[in-house]
Structure formats: C-alpha cells, structure tokens
C-alpha cells in the first residue's frame, strides 16, 4: 500500500480544532521539555553516552538478544521470536484461543499499532481493551494515535467529553477529573476480568532479563499484575546491555518525552510470579519482533535510526508536525521519526513522500536524546528514492531530466549566463507577476500562496563586469 502525505495536508490545515490543539500542545510540551533538560547540566554528555551505548548494542545485537533470552528463561518466562508482525499476532491469537481468552487489556504500545494487533484480535473474536487514557479515547473514537506519546493529542478536552457522553453515557461535563473517573471506573472492571495483559517495552536489560515500562497512569502496572498472562511486545532494538545504563536512558527518555523528572511509575518486571510473591502473572511471554528491523540493521547508513527510544521530542519540535499533526502522515509513526522510519520499515516506494515532507531544518536532530541525525537520513532516503525510481527502465521522470539539464547548465558558466538573460526577457514579457504567471510547476506551486519577485534588469555578474570594464 502506498501512503501519500500530500493527500491529507489540506484537510489537516482546514481542521480548526486540530490546529488549535496542535498549537497548545507544542507550546506546553516543548516548554516543559526545555525546562526539564536545562536542569541537567551534563545533558549533552548523557546524549553522547546514550548514543554510544545504542551504537554498541546495535553492533552486537544478536549477542545481547540471546543473553536477554537466557535471563528471561531463567526467570521462568518464555521468549518468542517473531520475524514479522503477523507471526507475533498469530502467536497471541493462538494462545488466546487455546486458553479460551475473549478479552485482553492493553498498555500503550506503538509496536502493537505497527503490527495492527487490535484489528487482528477483533477479527479473531478477541476484544482488546486499551487502558492508557489516551489510547482508550482513540479506541472509543475508532481512530489511530496521532502522536506516539500523546495518542489523542489531536483531540480537545471538549471532543473527549462529547465522545464519553455519546459512547459511554457519561453525564455532560467539562471537568477533567470527572472524565478521567468515568474511564477509570469502566477500566477497573476490565482489569479484574481480563485474563491477558499486553504491553510494550521501553527497555529490556540483557544482563538481568528485566523489562522496563514507564507510565503515568498505573494502567500498565495493573495490566501486568492482575491477569494470568502478561505478553510484552518488544522491537528487537529495545535491548540495552546493563541495568546501570537505565539511569541515563530513563533520564533522557522521560525528560524528553513529557518534561517530567520521572514518570509516576517505572515498572521493572522480571518474569512471572514466584511462589512467594503475592501478585504478578502466572505466565510471562516476551515477543521479540523484527518486522523489518534486521533489514535496517544491515544498512550501515540507516542503522542509527534503530537507536530511537520513542520519546516523541522530535515530533513536538518539528514545524511540519506542528502544522499538519500526526494523522496526515498516514503511517503508524509520524513527525521526523515517522518520516525516517516509515520508508525504512516498508520501502521508499510504499512511502514515497515521507522523506520529502521535511524542510530539513534540523530541529529534530537538535533535540533527539540519542542524537539520531534525522535530516541526514532523510537526505539519504531521498537519494535512494530517486535512484530506485530512475532504475525502473520504463519510468520516465521529467524531474530527473530537468535536474540533468540543470546540472549541465551549472557546469557551463556562459550558458548559465545566457539562460539568465533569456529568463529576464521572459519574466518581463510575462508582465506584472513575471514568470510566476506560468501555469507550470514549480511556478504554479510557488504562487499558490505567495508572490515571486520580478527578476532585476541585470544579474550580479552583469553589474560586476560593467563595473570592472
């Protein structure tokens, strides 16, 4: 399937509620993030450190994953290796069917979105219940997350209240506490009855087999402690070697994501319930999901993109994301992260516009806690897109031809100067709006919302040569 961002831009720009929400969100979240970061004097050092740890881990990923597996097994958990999202989904469906499970509670997991878990569960007559408030709202509305940390960022408080009135029969209110209480009451029932909990993973420590999940609502804690079975979905890039590095990663992740010093809960889970423990699942499964990641891992230039810790800071700071929101990207991951990861996880031909939907301003690289050079990666993706497109013998690309001619001209100064003179004649002939009137791109696209200056009577080189003579 090919996703095109350009098809969604108009409606995103015209949606006033979305525009208002985006504006508020970016001002507030960025402000808290910047404050939280400024309190850490060695922030830059920590970024370098984290980037190096990630690079090291990725260079020996199989080793660390194996050690993680051993530790999880030692603790009585089970590890499933899933090459594709489909394999992971199938495992969950089969297990649920075998155990006659009809309902699962879920903690927020972008990976589960990536592998379209909810749709597959529903098709298999298993009801997924999202328990993160934002995800719960999205599920009620039948939508997709528009931000990886704040999935319902595109919705206003009023829209959420209306949704609750309509879908849950809540009495109309503008009070956030009441809205939350409604969700809380309903979710509590699901926590008590669901026999399977599914969550994502923020970090998995290879040396100890510990799974770390951060959250603010306590819903993950309940999802992993109450049901009989806990399934943790983890992209293979989430492993880190040692628990002592957690301090650094948690600091970077949380301050970048929400501007908090620490989240309300940091769940550190090590396998199923032991005989002397009061709670916890009877069975614990860690599903290690590849779904295109080893392909990226093998690609020297793109490997760094796997260092991402999904903090969302690059989305918050991105002027393109701030302008069109997440849904316009039409993909699971959005903003700079999505622009980079979508074509990498699928292919440049399936996401032909993602790498181009960026002004390459570099704000994402500047905030990224693990220093992923997103603009460089986007440039490389653009290069790959063009070379793939132009390799297809059948495809004629006008853009390519224009670029080839352009390069010739730019290497031939006298031709360049002559064409400049001709352009000025055309510009003059065109009258008031100059060449902007030509009904062809790029002029037509430039002129849509802005003017083009008229060409001056003489170029700099002409003025200069006159002066010299």
């Amino acid at each position: 399937m090919v996703v095109k961002i350009s098809a969604n831009v108009q409606s995103a720009l015209a949606d006033e509620t979305l525009q208002g929400n985006l504006r508020r969100a970016f001002v507030d979240t960025l402000h808290s993030r910047n404050e939280a970061v400024s309190e850490v004097p060695n922030w830059e050092e920590l970024r370098d450190y984290a980037r190096d740890v990630k690079a090291h881990t990725l260079s020996r990923l199989p080793e660390y994953l194996q050690s993680l597996e051993e530790k999880v097994l030692e603790q009585g958990g089970k590890v499933i290796w899933a090459e594709t999202g489909q394999e992971a989904v199938q495992f969950i469906v089969d297990l649920s069917h075998r155990r006659e499970i009809r309902e699962v509670v879920k903690g927020k997991s972008m990976l589960s979105e990536e592998i379209h878990l909810n749709e597959s569960l529903e098709r298999a007559q298993i009801k997924p219940v999202e328990t993160d408030l934002g995800e719960y709202v999205i599920q009620l509305a039948g939508e997709k997350p528009s931000h990886l940390v704040a999935p319902a960022l595109h919705k206003s408080r009023k829209q959420i209240a209306d949704l609750f009135v309509q879908e849950l029969g809540m009495a109309p209110t503008g009070d956030v506490l009441e809205i939350t209480a409604t969700a809380r009451k309903l979710l509590r029932r699901h926590f008590l009855t669901a026999r399977m909990g599914i969550t994502g993973v923020n970090f998995a420590v290879a040396e100890t087999g510990t799974i770390v999940i951060v959250e603010n609502e306590g819903n993950v804690g309940l999802s992993v402690a109450v049901p009989e079975i806990h399934i943790a979905l983890m992209g293979i890039e989430k492993v880190i070697p040692r628990s002592r590095d957690l301090a650094v990663f948690l600091k970077l992740l949380i301050r970048s994501a929400t501007g908090q010093k620490i989240t309300s809960y940091v769940n550190c889970l090590s396998g199923p319930r032991r005989s002397d423990e009061l709670d916890g699942p009877q069975e614990f499964y860690l599903i290690l999901i590849d779904n295109g990641r080893t392909k990226i891992l093998a690609d020297d230039f793109m490997r760094e993109s796997l260092s991402c810790i999904r903090c969302g800071a690059c989305l918050n700071v991105c002027p393109v994301y701030q302008t069109i929101g997440g849904h316009a990207y039409g993909s699971t991951y959005q903003g700079p992260l999505g622009a980079m990861l979508t074509p990498l996880l699928t292919s440049v031909s399936e996401a032909p516009e993602h790498a181009f939907a960026s002004s390459l301003c570099g704000a994402c690289h500047e905030v990224c806690p693990v220093k992923i050079p997103i603009p460089q990666i986007l440039l490389k993706l653009r290069e790959r897109f063009q070379s793939e497109r132009n390799q297809k013998a059948a495809s004629f690309s006008l853009e390519k031809l224009v670029m080839q001619v352009w390069a010739r001209v730019m290497c031939a100064p006298s031709l360049y100067a002559r064409l400049g003179r001709w352009a000025r004649i055309v510009d003059k002939v065109c009258g008031k709006r100059g060449m902007g009137r030509l009904p062809v791109p790029p002029f037509s696209r430039w002129m849509k919302h802005r003017d083009l200056p008229a060409l001056p009577p003489q170029s700099f080189r002409e003025l200069y040569s006159k002066e010299v003579s």
Partner: protein, 241 residues
C-alpha cells in the same frame, strides 16, 4: 587580504543588490574582492532532492573554480553549509576530491562569520533608524552554529532598534524543494513566522539566506503585510560611500 566571492545563483539572478552590498562592505574594510565569473551554483537544489550525481557534478565545478582562492565569502547560510558540510559527504568515496572539498570548506565563510570572526569587525559603520528583527536560517544556525555574529553586527548599526521575535529560530518553511513539493505546509509554516515577525513590532525582517527571504517576502507581499525583508548584507552596507 584577498577574498573570492561566491555570490550564489539566487543572489546573482534575483537579488544582485545583495552581492553589490557584500562587495561594498568588504571593500570598505580594506579587503580586496574578486568575483570569478565561472561560478554558478553550489548544487543544493539537486542535493536536497536526492539527485546526488547531479549535485556532485556541480560541486566538482565549484571546486575547480575555487581551487586556488584564499578566503571564500558567501552571503548565504545554506550555500556555506552545502560547501562546508555537504561537499565532503558528497565525495565520501573519492579521497582526493574529499580532501580538496574539506580544504576549500575550511576557507569558506558565511559573510557575518567572516566579518566577526575572521576580520574581527565590530561595526561596518552602517546607520539605519528603523525597527528590525532577525530570522535565524536553519542551516546557518544548526549546521554552522552561527547566531551571535549576525546579531552583534545588527546591534552595532547606528540608530537601529533591534527586537528579537518569538521563535526566531523556528524554520520559516522555505526548505528549498520543500517549498514547492509541499506548498501548503511550507506557506502555513511561513504564516506562523510572519505572525511572530509582526508580533515583534519590526518593520524589517533581516536574514542571511536569500531562500528564506524570498519565501517570506512572497508571503508578506501576497498578504499585504507592511513589513519588508532585507538581507544582512544590505543592512550592513547602509553607510555613506
């Protein structure tokens, strides 16, 4: 001291006045200025859209033209970045071209950096009794780390009233090919910028990149906003000859 100008294709064809101003400033400071008419473009349009081979051809031409020059001064943040940061990457697999590119990159300076950091100039002696604000162009700011130099030079202009705008470092939405590939996003970002420019109370917005200025000016004119764009060089050249 002798300087080779790289005037950039946009300045050459659209805004020759910026080139004239650059020359005027440098000459006033006693620098010998040279313009090699074999120069054309730095290759950015191709590089940014993924046409790396075409960009490389143009970059090679640039390296040929500037092989022997001492200081190269460029009145543009993004073109300086192209030369200093991206040329070496373009020739990653060709060690002799790469070292030539690195060598030339070290000799290349964006105008404000050259004035402040190389010449140690505090003021150009310009006078401009107007309210102005400054827009940080992305590559100049984030790739080259240049933000204090242009501000110092602006502040030193006589009788100027310099006011920072909110979000001065947020992208204006130009982004080269982005401006025509995604015109709606590009201009929506530009509209935000225009709002912040107006919010500062400035009548002139100063920047060091012609791309940003052309985009902003297009928006200001289309929407009849009474604010003018001005390149840093034009501002700094506002002295009596």
């Amino acid at each position: 001291m002798k300087v080779s100008l790289f005037i950039t294709c946009l300045v050459d064809q659209f805004f020759p006045q910026i080139g004239i101003s650059t020359m005027k400033i440098l000459r006033k400071l006693g620098v010998e200025v040279e313009f090699d008419s074999r120069q054309t473009c730095c290759g950015q349009p191709a590089f940014n859209t993924g046409y790396v081979e075409e960009a490389r051809q143009v970059a090679r031409h640039f390296l040929e033209v500037y092989g022997d020059s001492d200081h190269i001064v460029v009145p543009s943040g993004s073109c300086s970045t192209m030369i200093k940061v991206f040329f070496p990457k373009l020739f990653a697999e060709d060690s002799s071209q790469r070292s030539l590119a690195e060598e030339i990159g070290r000799r290349t300076f964006e105008l404000s950096e050259f004035l402040s950091s190389v010449l140690g100039v505090e003021t150009t002696g310009a006078r401009f009794p107007e309210v102005v604000t400054y827009h940080d162009s992305c590559h100049l700011l984030r790739e080259l780390g240049i933000s204090s130099q242009p501000r110092q030079l602006i502040r030193a202009v006589e009788e100027i009233d310099f006011r920072e705008m909110e979000h001065c470092d947020r992208c204006c939405g130009f982004g080269g090919a982005f401006s025509v590939k995604f015109p709606d996003i590009s201009t929506a970002m530009g509209a935000d910028k225009v709002g912040w420019i107006q919010g500062s109370g400035a009548r002139y917005v100063i920047a060091s990149d012609v791309g940003c200025l052309m985009h902003l000016r297009g928006l200001l004119e289309r929407n009849r906003v009474p604010v003018q764009t001005m390149h840093l060089a034009e501002l700094l050249a506002k002295f009596e000859d």
